[in-house]
């Protein structure tokens, strides 16, 4: 497809066959890593008193819980296709980062060249600089994880020796704190954000209550997808009733 303005003349380039190959290769790496990890858990589960049945249940629960979030990320990724082309979107949204981070990074980088995302100032050169900045930034996370993880690991082993209770308290507290903080961070954004949080929380409460009273464990797995969907539907009506965030 040709663009009348010529501003999207880089899209042919962005859809080059070699980039498709790289995009699929990157997704392949994720699959290979998962397969190696799955076999590592399966082989060693016994040492943690975990049955093969529980190993399978955990895998399935994780997969089912990821369906709702994955489909929402897909929606956002699709919206980015006309801007970046398919292979760059798959690589950037499919690897470290999230749609939101990538869009913000692209728009910051474009800004340094006096250009805006999605209008005629977003030329071939701006596109490449933006993609470069997004990629180098993603690389920053990956490299620092490669360097920091062994260091953290040594220190946590030391802490565990000092007091074994430490490692039984820290992960739960850290998890609660992280999600409490992430959730509170949504509140000041707009009334619709508050509605999305509250509706999703209420629907999850109902799902978990029903899972218990009806003895329906599948509701624990599907609860996230259901709360996400109902939360987004509520946000849809709230947003178009004028309670939304100011358009970015």
């Amino acid at each position: 497809m040709t663009s009348a303005s010529g501003s999207a003349d880089y899209l042919g380039l962005a859809n080059a066959p070699i980039l498709w190959i790289l995009a699929f290769a990157v997704m392949g790496v994720v699959v290979v890593q998962s397969l190696i990890y799955m076999s590592a858990v399966r082989k060693n589960a016994e040492s943690a008193g975990m049955s093969q049945q529980e190993v399978r249940s955990a895998f399935r629960a994780g997969g089912v819980a990821a369906i709702g979030p994955s489909l929402s990320v897909v929606l956002v990724a699709i919206a980015l296709l006309p801007l970046f082309g398919t292979p760059p979107v798959v690589v950037r949204v499919g690897l470290i980062g999230s749609a939101a981070t990538e869009v913000a990074s692209a728009s910051i980088a474009a800004g340094t060249m006096g250009a805006n995302l999605g209008d005629e100032t977003f030329t071939r050169g701006v596109f490449i600089v933006a993609l470069m900045a997004m990629s180098l930034s993603g690389a920053g996370w990956m490299i620092s994880t490669l360097i920091l993880t062994p260091i953290f690991k040594r220190s946590s082993h030391k802490l565990e020796k000092v007091n074994p209770a430490l490692m039984s308290i820290i992960p739960g507290a850290a998890l609660l704190a992280a999600f409490a903080a992430l959730t509170f961070r949504e509140i000041p954004k707009s009334p619709t954000h508050v509605i999305a949080v509250v509706v999703s929380a209420i629907v999850m409460t109902i799902c978990l209550f029903l899972a218990k009273t009806l003895k329906a464990p599948w509701l624990k797995e599907w609860g996230l997808g259901i709360s996400l969907l109902v939360g987004l539907v509520a946000a849809y009506f709230a947003h178009y009733a004028g309670l939304g965030a100011p358009e970015a």
């Binding site: 380039l13 080059a16 997704m27 994720v30 699959v31 590592a40 858990v41 589960a45 943690a48 955990a58 895998f59 819980a65 990821a66 979030p69 994955s70 489909l71 929402s72 990320v73 956002v76 699709i78 919206a79 292979p87 499919g94 980062g97 749609a99 939101a100 910051i108 340094t112 060249m113 600089v129 993609l131 470069m132 900045a133 180098l136 930034s137 996370w141 620092s144 490669l146 920091l148 062994p150 074994p164 308290i169 992960p171 739960g172 507290a173 998890l175 609660l176 704190a177 999600f179 903080a181 959730t183 961070r185 509140i187 999703s200 978990l208 996230l224 987004l232 946000a235 947003h239 178009y240």
Partner: protein, 243 residues
């Protein structure tokens, strides 16, 4: 592959995941970074390294501190094995951790136990497979076609509100699954205080907001713990470090 014949052990699990986790993360980094370099060299685009550097530095100024803060925040939750998964795949707070929480809740394993760690690892693998399938099928193959079908209002709402719509539900499930009333109250109180009061007063701290809440919550939970319960090695099979 001498691991194959060794007896099941946590040490073997850590060896395999550390070795292959870091190798796959490194390969992912190489391939992903080669994409823009390829474009830079083949495109005749009038871009020099100065432009690239300026663009990157502007992004770095915003996100640079997260390269350190995020691994630090998520390490206590993910453990070493999970780190290599999470920072390859991304989407940590909106996809991977929620999956891990759901899986731990489903099989009744607690975070911080070996069983909890294995359940989280399997859950992230399950989430990774769904993630890859959805990216390849719905974005890679069908994306351009789906783009013409989905109304713009719907994508806009998904883009703006995906995170709050996930976080409300996940936080409730996490609280229900952990059943640690005291830690929950501490975490909620600290989060409210830091995010709604401290950050607006001292905006420079904003990039570290989640990390601050995590650290303060850990410290308070630690010093107010019930020592009689936590500081001995129990044999109920759900305590850390023994199984």
């Amino acid at each position: 592959m001498s691991d194959i014949i060794t007896a099941p052990s946590h040490a073997a699990f850590e060896r395999t995941t550390t070795k292959w986790g870091s190798i796959t993360l490194f390969i992912g980094f190489l391939i992903a970074t080669s994409v823009p370099f390829y474009l830079l060299f083949v495109a005749d685009a009038n871009v020099d390294l100065g432009n690239v550097l300026t663009g990157f530095l502007a992004v770095f100024a915003v996100y640079g501190v997260f390269y350190i803060v995020e691994p630090l925040t998520y390490f206590p939750i993910l453990g070493p094995a999970g780190m290599y998964q999470a920072f390859l795949i991304g989407n940590i707070s909106n996809k991977l951790l929620p999956s891990a929480i759901v899986a731990q809740d489903t099989i009744g394993a607690k975070p911080g136990t070996r069983k909890g760690e294995y359940a989280a690892t399997m859950a992230i693998c399950g989430a990774a497979i769904i993630h890859v399938a959805s990216m390849v099928i719905f974005v890679g193959v069908l994306g351009t076609w789906l783009l013409t079908l989905i109304p713009e209002q719907v994508t806009l709402v998904a883009k703006l509100y995906i995170l709050p719509a996930i976080l409300g539900g996940v936080t409730v499930q996490l609280i229900a699954s952990l059943r640690q009333v005291k830690s929950t109250l501490i975490a909620l109180a600290i989060a409210a205080l830091v995010i709604l009061v401290l950050i607006p007063l001292v905006p420079v701290l904003a990039p570290g907001d989640v990390a601050i809440v995590v650290i303060v919550t850990i410290v308070i939970t630690w010093f107010t713990r019930n020592r009689a319960v936590t500081d001995r090695r129990t044999d109920d099979g759900d305590s850390v470090g023994i199984n």
